[in-house]
């Protein structure tokens, strides 16, 4: 019986890929384990192995085809004796690199990640009138690093897999080639050690960019980020400085459960002596990372793995820098304010579109900066809409939403027509199962409900 081979998801966040090369041609006999093709994702080139035995009956998607969505049929395997005439009736079957227990329906192994994010392109930077390019967040971050490294020899990038592997999430693609091993440094897996080493190098006058493969691993380095980097300026009476960037993906990815899915915005946001930014769009990523590298203080850049592959219009100019501490109104509205950061800006924007259909005109604020936070923009928006909902992946207790509530009370109390309402990650560790994971995270639905509640609708 003929079997379709579907474009596989080769990582939890992959939504599409490129068929780089077919290693088998039509008519070739294949056995389980044969490499059929090479598939490029935005992060890596992976081999597609055959699961079934038979003859490669037809290649549906030819080599060099880009942006092939996950689950698209790309080829058909024929059983012995079949001919290509049976192709039309072929049932779908993914050639996943890893097999799954039979009890699992193929639905699990072949569907794209449940929450593959919709593409939302915010408006171009209002103050920027130069040329724009369409780029992924990953590329925007890479450009930010490269552009700054070209201007200042003191800047170097260090972290696990940043050089030869070009980044666990492929943010540092091409940097080793351009800048060499002196300035793009692969570290051992030793977060506590290399964070402290980076701090020492910064104290001595260098400008380190320390990549954490994810911020979950930076808990091992927390002492150096806080006690050594954040407090030194103060403890030295202004004599010392620690110009260092700590960056990497923060928050939940997909299906990686409790220890790999935490949002640290409120942790770092708590600390005087740190600056903390959380980009959403490509322009955010480029403009804020460049600002962080130029800043003479320790700056945490909380990126998001699910945004790395998303495309946005990004200012091309190497002079494009965003101010740390300034929020962006992504969508102007008059009925209610939704404030969010990082990936949740996308959720807030989707919710706003949905609410517009129901006659609620929401203003969406992209915080961009967690510390310092843009009190002015938040308060001004509340004074206009009289209602505010905060959205974050992090936990509710002492979270960023709690801070938004305090800002609303301290700066706009008399303008509030409804209680400040928080939409947060649920107050439990992140679960693994898809349905529980979805329940844990703020969704368009939950944001919409919260907005309706504060609008008394």
């Amino acid at each position: 019986m003929a079997t379709q081979i579907l474009m596989p998801a080769l990582s939890p966040t992959m939504t599409e890929g490129t068929i780089a090369r077919w290693l088998k041609k039509e008519g070739d006999t294949v056995v389980s384990g044969d490499v059929l093709a090479e598939i490029e994702t935005d992060k890596a080139t992976m081999e597609l192995e055959a699961v079934d035995e038979g003859i490669l009956g037809k290649i549906i998607v030819g080599e060099g085809t880009a942006a092939v969505a996950v689950n698209t049929p790309i080829a058909v395997i024929l059983a012995e004796g079949e001919d290509a005439g049976s192709i039309a009736a072929a049932p779908a079957k993914a050639a996943e690199p890893k097999s799954e227990p039979a009890a699992f329906s193929s639905q699990h192994s072949t569907q794209a990640p449940a929450k593959s994010p919709a593409k939302t392109s915010p408006a171009a930077e209002p103050d920027y009138t130069g040329e724009m390019v369409t780029q992924t967040v990953r590329e925007a971050l890479r450009d930010a690093i490269a552009e700054e490294m070209r201007t200042d020899e003191r800047i170097f990038l260090m972290g696990e897999e940043v050089a030869e592997y070009e980044g666990a999430y492929k943010v540092s693609q091409g940097l080793l080639e351009e800048f060499g091993a002196k300035r793009v440094v692969d570290t051992p897996i030793t977060e506590h050690g290399f964070a402290g080493l980076g701090v020492g190098a910064a104290m001595a006058g260098l400008r380190p960019i320390v990549e954490f493969m994810t911020f979950n691993f930076a808990m091992q380095a927390m002492d150096h980020i806080i006690n050594s980097a954040a407090k030194t300026r103060y403890m030295s009476g202004g004599q010392m400085s620690c110009p260092i960037v700590f960056r990497g993906p923060n928050g939940a990815a997909v299906g990686v459960a409790a220890q790999h899915s935490q949002d640290y915005a409120s942790w770092y946001g708590h600390i005087p002596g740190l600056k903390v930014v959380a980009p959403y769009s490509g322009a955010d990523a480029k403009g804020l990372l460049k600002a962080a590298i130029r800043d003479p203080n320790p700056v945490l850049v909380l990126e998001n793995e699910l945004l790395y592959g998303r495309s946005f219009e990004v200012p091309k100019s190497s002079d494009f820098v965003l101010p740390i501490g300034k929020a962006k109104i992504e969508r102007a509205g008059k009925d209610v304010t939704i404030v969010a950061y990082s990936l949740m800006v996308g959720v807030a924007l989707q919710a706003a579109e949905k609410l517009a259909e129901e006659g609620i005109d929401a203003e969406v604020i992209n915080l961009r900066s967690i510390r310092p936070i843009d009190v002015e923009t938040i308060a001004a928006s509340i004074k206009k809409t009289n209602r505010i909902v905060s959205v974050e992946e992090g936990w509710p207790f002492a979270g960023i939403g709690s801070e938004i509530a305090a800002i609303a009370m301290e700066h706009a109390f008399d303008w509030l027509d409804a209680p400040v309402t928080r939409v947060c990650g649920e107050d439990v560790p992140m679960p693994y199962a898809r349905n529980l994971e979805a329940l844990y995270l703020p969704s368009v639905e939950r944001v919409s409900q919260a907005v309706k509640a504060v609008c008394y609708r």
């Binding site: 051992p188 080493l197 020492g200 190098a201 001595a204 006058g205 030295s236 202004g238 004599q239 203080n297």
Partner: protein, 338 residues
């Protein structure tokens, strides 16, 4: 005792013959630390210094010998919270150090750092760190910067026997050896991490030998003999500067006072302390050597003592007369204003 023999041998000072003037400087520098610390203890007792205050008395030969081998303004220094001696040995002003201890605006950190947190970029002294062993990766980063900038300097990273059991020390060893960083790790083994003896805390007592796991050359040093420390420091720094990577010195020393001012020191006997004080005191040893060899007269030695006392007295007066920080200072120096 073999101390005279050791001293005579050490007097050659390694590659360079030591002059009487250099030997007298060792005496003077160690005395300055001792008298300074005694005064700090006194001011603490008067309530003029508060919080934690960790005195260096007994360990003076370690930092004086090491810093004599270093190149001021070129090599970096970083240490723990037991840091007053290191600051004086790198040439920081005793007045500024004492004024920081008393929390005054004229202190090195303008009264915001205290005993454990002082810095001098001018003297390449990078703290003064209150978290046990945190200075080890930081010092390794200083070494990274020396190599990156190719400035010929080395980083001198001091830590104690207590810190030697922190994992970050070995993360640092690994990176320093891997990247051949010019770091000299100086383990000041004063036998007790707070109230716990090395034997009760460390599976192996020769803490410097742990560097062997990373291929880092290491040696034990008599930390009560300033000349032995000086010689070892020269070897270690020469190795680090040559591009061969880090070097570890396991310096055996002893602190006469408690871990901090509030330490009743029940974990060791009075006899243990007084035996070491009377037989191995690094200041007595160099003083005796100078006198025995005719390199200094009684008068000269007395004058050194008097000069040092005057410096310390002046520092203490300065530290008491200086005003406290202005209240507006609470809010300054949190961030560099770009």
């Amino acid at each position: 005792m073999a101390k005279t023999a050791v001293a005579r041998q050490g007097k050659r000072g390694g590659a360079n013959e030591l002059s009487p003037e250099q030997l007298k400087k060792f005496l003077r520098d160690m005395l300055l630390i001792r008298r300074f610390e005694e005064k700090a203890g006194q001011l603490y007792g008067m309530g003029l210094i508060y919080g934690f205050c960790h005195l260096y008395i007994g360990q003076e030969a370690v930092v004086v010998g090491m810093q004599a081998a270093a190149e001021p303004g070129k090599d970096s220094v970083v240490t723990s919270y037991r840091d007053h001696g290191h600051m004086l040995a790198t040439g920081m002003d005793p007045k500024g150090v004492m004024a920081e201890l008393t929390g005054r605006r004229t202190g090195y950190s303008r009264g915001k750092g205290g005993s454990m947190h002082m810095f001098s970029t001018e003297r390449k002294f990078y703290g003064g760190h209150g978290i046990v062993a945190a200075q080890v990766p930081i010092g390794t980063g200083l070494a990274f910067a020396h190599k990156y900038s190719n400035d010929g300097g080395a980083s001198m990273v001091y830590y104690g026997d207590g810190a030697a059991n922190q994992g970050q020390v070995y993360e640092s060893f690994n990176m320093a050896a891997l990247w051949k960083l010019p770091a000299v790790y100086v383990i000041e083994n004063n036998r007790y991490g707070m109230g716990t003896s090395v034997a009760r805390a460390s599976a192996t007592g020769d803490l410097h030998k742990r560097g062997a796991a990373y291929g880092i050359p290491n040696e034990a040093v008599d930390g009560m003999d300033v000349l032995a420390v000086y010689e070892a420091g020269q070897r270690a720094l020469a190795h680090a500067r040559s591009g061969k990577g880090p070097y570890i010195l396991g310096v055996e020393t002893y602190r006469y006072r408690g871990h901090s001012m509030s330490d009743p020191a029940k974990y060791r006997s009075r006899e243990e302390v007084s035996k070491i004080r009377s037989e191995q005191d690094p200041i007595d040893r160099i003083r005796q050597m100078l006198l025995n060899d005719g390199d200094a007269t009684e008068e000269e030695v007395k004058k050194i003592d008097a000069d040092v006392k005057a410096i310390v007295t002046e520092a203490a007066e300065f530290a008491q007369q200086s005003p406290e920080p202005d209240l507006s200072e609470l809010y300054t120096d949190v961030l560099v204003e770009a």
